[in-house]
Symmetry: C2
Subunit: 337 residues, 2 copies
């Protein structure tokens, strides 16, 4: 066999899967994380049940492998395994998703089901951990030693890289930063607690605060933007109205920065991280969010912690979870082997 | 030389010093942490300035070595070094106390000053880290893998043991749990932030809330207990009045448990620790504090995090800082050598 062929064979790949309540995203990367191949997305269709969703994932993994092989010349045996990020809580050691309200799964043996269908070794971690790991390995938090990641969308998920490794806690449920109280007598959160960060600064919470602000007499662009149907207000509507100069929306945006700033300042005082990376739909507001957020953090956190830390948007839009799932497989299977 | 003597010589000791704004406590321990020898305390006398305080510390170290040697038969060369805990923030690598308002020190080269005076190698860490390390090495948090320690007194200090090692953060200022916001529009804290845990649940904050509660018309035992001088109310007065059945004091105690419960629940959701250890003057209230505190944490935190964690009082009353200072020397000097 010519040596050029065996050298081409030497490049090895990992498939990453980001399993969300709405969409499944999958793709492949070489072990060195240098490129994303064959990234694709489809609807989860959670209502079809776990077995059908697993078949769907297995088909996507097969497609990703085929497309990546076609593009790179890799052979089937060059694909080492599959990493998957799933909504938590989960038991990494047993490879089991304990409970996932969005999918309706309970004690589902995700790792084994994935291996059964793909014939490949698998590793799992929760979605928020994977997203942070992705941004740390290949994205905005690259090079950080202590990194806190927040994904701000329908909920607020958190991931912690401490001393250069993902921190999981004593029973794999660490990093629930969205469910830290920033106002102990404040808004009721879906988790049952009061005043959680998520109850103020998730996408739905921002929309809800905007609806409340509209209860007054003041006119607002927001009403026209949703054709009078306030239930259609989203975080994006609020940021759009704010940039169009709407006073009510601007106040909601300022409040959001204050709430998120309080939450991020807490993280600085607790972790003294070198990077806080924020991703997810709400962060698409860009500097309209980040500028007042950073100002609030400076006001609240200790100066040495502020000076040590950059607060940045994620750069792996849509693929942080896939990249992190690849990194999870690498960390759990290759590096502990 | 008879072999029994050389074998006695084999036991080696470390001196620990806990430097506080009010008192200096010092003692010695064998490297295995099995016993505390010659523990002594004296007033810091911070007003005398750094040089005089350092002379005082050096004299205490000499006394501790002499007394420990007399008790154990150890020789001078069996004392390997001195660990010291000091109010932070500090730079461990350079061995420098950056700023300590209580002592009036700025950029003071504590480690070198200690070595110059004692002729022994030295290591330092901040007092809250040392207290947590002490309870983890020899106290209530022994055996924990992920431990959060809170020292609740004049302020609220925090220490983090994560994956079996003290976590310092990116510039040595991690663990400022007292300065995490639990009410983002709440009480102004001395640190400049609003709604810090310390502004609600430190000793002085408890006393302040009691004074505010007395502003109403309701009679209270508290007034008589301080001879009408409300400025003399302390956290202890409040807990004493509460156990004597005073309704106002009982409400302050319940509120304290709610505030601390919110702060500790945040720690559970963030760290998923196996132990949270609470020490310091305020925790002397015992079950009057811990029972409602644990109930509040159960109400607020995620169940898997609650189930993984025990919330316990520290057991090294008065010496956690010394034990931790010994452990700091061991970790920084002996185990990295």
């Amino acid at each position: 066999m010519p040596s050029s062929q065996s050298s081409a064979r030497k490049r090895q790949y990992i498939v990453g899967v980001d399993l969300g309540g709405t969409n499944i995203v999958a793709g492949a990367m070489p072990v060195d994380g240098s490129h994303e191949y064959a990234v694709r997305s489809q609807s989860t269709g959670a209502e079809d049940g776990a077995e059908v969703v697993m078949d769907r994932i297995a088909q996507m993994v097969a497609d990703v492998i085929e497309a990546t092989a076609a593009e790179t010349g890799a052979a089937t045996e060059d694909f080492l395994g599959v990493g998957i990020g799933a909504p938590g809580p989960l038991d990494r050691e047993r490879g089991v998703v304990i409970i996932t309200p969005n999918l309706g799964w309970n004690n589902f043996p995700l790792r084994q089901a994935l291996t059964d269908r793909t014939g490949l070794p698998a590793a799992l971690d929760n979605d928020a951990n994977c997203a942070t790991l992705g941004e740390w390995w290949c994205g905005a938090a690259k090079g950080g030693r202590n990194v806190v990641g927040l994904t701000i969308g329908t909920g607020i998920g958190g991931g912690l890289i401490l001393n250069g490794a993902l921190y999981h806690g004593s029973s794999d449920v660490a990093g629930e930063i969205g469910h830290t109280t920033i106002d102990s007598t404040g808004r009721r959160c879906k988790c049952g607690n009061y005043g959680c960060l998520e109850a103020y600064a998730s996408g739905p919470a921002i929309a809800e605060r905007a609806r409340e602000a509209l209860a007054g007499e003041e006119p607002s662009l927001l009403v026209g933007m949703v054709g009078g149907d306030l239930s259609r207000i989203t975080a994006r509507t609020v940021y759009d109205a704010a940039s169009a100069g709407d006073a009510i929306a601007q106040e909601v945006v300022r409040e959001t920065a204050r709430f998120l700033g309080a939450g991020v300042a807490n993280l600085l005082n607790i972790f003294n991280p070198d990077v806080v990376v924020l991703a997810g739909g709400v962060t698409e507001a860009g500097e309209a969010l980040f500028t007042p957020l950073r100002a609030e953090v400076r006001r609240r956190a200790f100066r040495p912690a502020v000076e040590a830390c950059r607060i940045v948007p994620g750069i792996l839009a849509g693929t942080a979870g896939v990249v992190g799932a690849v990194a999870t497989f690498k960390a759990q299977v290759l590096e502990t082997a």
